[in-house]
């Protein structure tokens, strides 16, 4: 058998999957698509192909100003907007940025904390929280309200939005239990938190200054929280 013989047979195979083997072109395509659909985790079947064909996948996304982040240690890969080289105009955004509501942000921050604690404890596997645990966690930081039903409803809405963003995942066949996905660590990092913390502190200072001048500003409890439910901040 000659080398040319094997290459023609490869070509004949084309884009099809043969006997469990996938052609490189297809592996790159599938990897790229899976990345566009969301975070690719080490446990998923797309991981091996993605890692093997990282170079090609990176080249593919570099064209539209996206960077492929593959974190071997954490076992996840995702797309993010690449930094614009100095002196160049930024490309239009491919990935939308989203401003979360205050309640959603708070929940995300608390989940980030749980994840950090979970890791320090050295527990194996994944962090799973029940609905009650999540509610208990966030409730302390929300308005003390007598309308518990409404509060529940808002927390559920927050949970659903985080599920939609890929930070929580409802377990199959187990209602009311969520996995806190590891990718949270990549998105809610120290830098993001520090910005948020600074903004919050500023807001609190302004609030207390207001309070001293006019007492009216306080008291409209609950009016602001749901009105700004996740609006995309920038368009494609």
């Amino acid at each position: 058998m000659t080398a040319s013989g094997s290459s023609t047979s490869d070509r004949a195979v084309g884009d099809r999957v043969t006997a469990g083997r996938v052609t490189p072109e297809r592996a790159v395509a599938v990897s790229a698509i899976r990345l566009m659909q969301g975070v690719v985790y080490q446990e998923s079947d797309a991981w091996d192909d993605l890692v093997r064909h990282q170079g090609a996948v990176r080249d593919h996304f570099a064209v539209v100003g996206l960077e492929v982040v593959v974190d071997d240690d954490e076992g996840y890969a995702y797309l993010r907007t690449a930094d614009t080289p100095e002196g160049e105009n930024a490309l239009p955004r491919v990935i939308r940025r989203r401003t979360l509501t205050y309640a959603d942000s708070l929940l995300l921050v608390l989940l980030r904390k749980r994840l950090a604690e979970f890791e320090s404890a050295g527990d194996p596997g994944q962090l799973v929280l029940t609905h009650d645990e999540i509610v208990e966690m966030i409730r302390l930081f929300l308005h003390r309200s007598t309308d518990e039903a409404r509060e529940q409803h808002q927390i559920d809405a927050s949970i659903n939005r985080l599920v939609g963003m890929g930070f929580l995942r409802q377990l199959k066949d187990r209602k009311g239990e969520w996995e806190v996905r590891r990718i949270l660590k990549a998105y809610v990092d120290a830098e993001t938190l520090s910005d948020f913390s600074a903004k919050l502190a500023e807001y609190a200072d302004a609030g207390s200054a207001d309070e001293s001048t006019a007492d009216e500003g306080v008291g409209h409890a609950g009016a602001a929280d749901e009105s700004t439910a996740d609006r995309p901040s920038e368009d494609i």
Partner: protein, 477 residues
């Protein structure tokens, strides 16, 4: 042991608490069988629940009027794994959506102790003394640094072996073990083999404890960067270089070496072949169980080392610390803000996926034609169909039978069945007779005279047949 120490163990040690638990017998039968006897590792809740389910059912059916265990298997399991009990480990493995349970070393201990209560027929002492002496010899030889003395020892062993060879030449029976000695050795082997299997859980647990202590030390460390790094390096090597780590690694290498595997296989085969031993069949493959358990432990060690490495990676670690500090700040501010107007801003993040939704991706509305029902089937191309199957069926057409009768009997007339049959010989045998009897026409009446008997002769499938039956008359109304 001191009184206080024992008292503390009684209160706190999970094995002891397990023995004191209200449902200890149930717990030990169910979990002991599942994890210890059947040698399973971490298992999903679904697999595990089936075991107590069967057991509960069996126990409860002994006295159905007042069942002893009223709760469900899953509830008992959750209880046993709960933080107050701690008899089982309960966790979600990566990539699995079902809770998994694994036995704790305490379960192995408690189960082994209860098993040990069943008395043994005899307790071998000679073989154990031999083992003890052997171990002493290994220590002595392994620590002797003077080559002359070691040579001396080897010479002595050589001499012993030569003497044995001579003895065997003179007496072919020399050196054979007698029945008792064989059984004694078997007993010791079986005990050690089982203990070894049980010990893997303890080994795993020890590794976890090492990991936890490393993390604690790192997390509470408040020193300079240099000290911190030294601590981290120490933490990283702690697992592999601990006594536990080295012993386990040596065991693992020995067990998995090809020669070790082959020899073990052969020896175990040989042992099960000796009749007087009455070897437990499960021991025949005990080396596979060891390998499985060791593999599980190895897996745990690997993932622990991996996690610990990641955890001690100073960048990750510093980031984690910073994150926790920041979260604490945010929490404080959030508590402060709770009673005022909540901020209208939040985190700004990129989405984790790209929503590709092209306008053309959504098809325009298309009018669907109203559905029509067309029962006129197009003529099909001629097709070969084996119609003989249809022809071969025995079908008695009651309408035809009725027509015959109408042709034969005038209105209000009556005829006997055998007369009708003699005019129209039966074509389908008994089925046709039954057909006549079952006629259900408005103008015909079939009456059966139970007391009179008649004989009808006919041919069916080429054979001459005779039916003896009550006389039947058919009347036309």
């Amino acid at each position: 042991m001191e009184y206080a120490q024992i008292e503390a163990l009684r209160e706190r040690h999970p094995a002891w608490r397990m023995l004191r638990a209200t449902h200890a017998p149930l717990l030990l039968t169910v979990l002991g069988r599942f994890f210890v006897e059947e040698g399973r590792g971490a298992s999903s809740e679904g697999e595990l629940v089936a075991a107590p389910d069967d057991q509960l059912y069996a126990i409860n059916t002994q006295d159905p009027a007042n069942p002893r265990f009223v709760r469900t298997a899953a509830e008992y399991l959750a209880d046993w794994a709960g933080p107050e009990a701690g008899f089982l480990r309960r966790f979600y493995p990566l990539g699995a959506d079902e809770i998994h349970y694994d036995a704790t070393p305490a379960l192995e201990k408690a189960y082994a102790w209860v098993q040990g209560l069943a008395e043994q027929s005899f307790v071998g002492t000679e073989s154990r003394l031999q083992t003890a002496v052997d171990l002493l010899r290994q220590i002595a030889q392994g620590t002797e640094s003077d080559p002359a003395k070691r040579l001396d020892q080897l010479e002595r062993r050589k001499h012993d072996i030569e003497r044995e060879i001579d003895q065997l030449r003179q007496d072919p029976q020399a050196g054979l073990l007698d029945r008792t000695a064989v059984r004694e050795r078997y007993q010791q082997f079986a005990t050690t083999a089982r203990e070894l299997l049980a010990d893997f859980r303890q080994v795993e647990e020890n590794f976890r404890a090492l990991d936890r202590s490393a993390r604690e030390r790192i997390a509470t460390r408040q020193g300079s960067k240099g000290e911190l790094l030294a601590e981290l390096v120490h933490g990283r090597s702690m697992i592999d270089s601990s006594d536990q780590g080295r012993s386990f690694q040596a065991f693992y290498d020995l067990l998995l070496s090809t020669s070790g595997q082959e020899e073990l296989s052969m020896l175990l085969d040989r042992m099960t072949g000796i009749e007087e031993v009455g070897a437990d069949r499960r021991l025949r493959t005990v080396h596979h169980s060891w390998a499985e358990a060791a593999e599980r432990t190895q897996h745990t060690v690997r993932s622990i080392s991996e996690q610990l490495r990641r955890f001690t990676d100073d960048q990750v670690w510093l980031e984690n610390r910073r994150v926790l500090d920041l979260v604490r700040q945010i929490e404080t501010t959030a508590l402060h803000l709770r009673d005022g107007e909540l901020p209208d801003f939040g985190l700004e993040l990129e989405e984790t996926s790209i929503d590709v939704a092209l306008p053309t991706d959504r098809p325009l509305f298309t009018v669907r034609p109203a559905s029509e029902v067309n029962s006129d089937l197009e003529p099909v191309e001629a097709e070969e169909v084996d119609t003989s199957v249809l022809a071969n069926q025995v079908v008695v057409d009651p309408a035809r039978l009725a027509t015959r009768i109408r042709a034969l009997i005038p209105v209000h007339g009556t005829a006997r069945l055998e007369d009708i049959i003699s005019l129209y010989p039966l074509q389908h045998g008994a089925a046709e007779i039954v057909g006549y009897l079952a006629l259900d026409e408005d103008d015909l009446e079939v009456t059966t005279h139970e007391h009179e008997e008649t004989v009808i002769e006919y041919h069916e499938a080429g054979r001459h047949m005779r039916a003896t039956m009550p006389r039947v008359e058919v009347t036309r109304r």
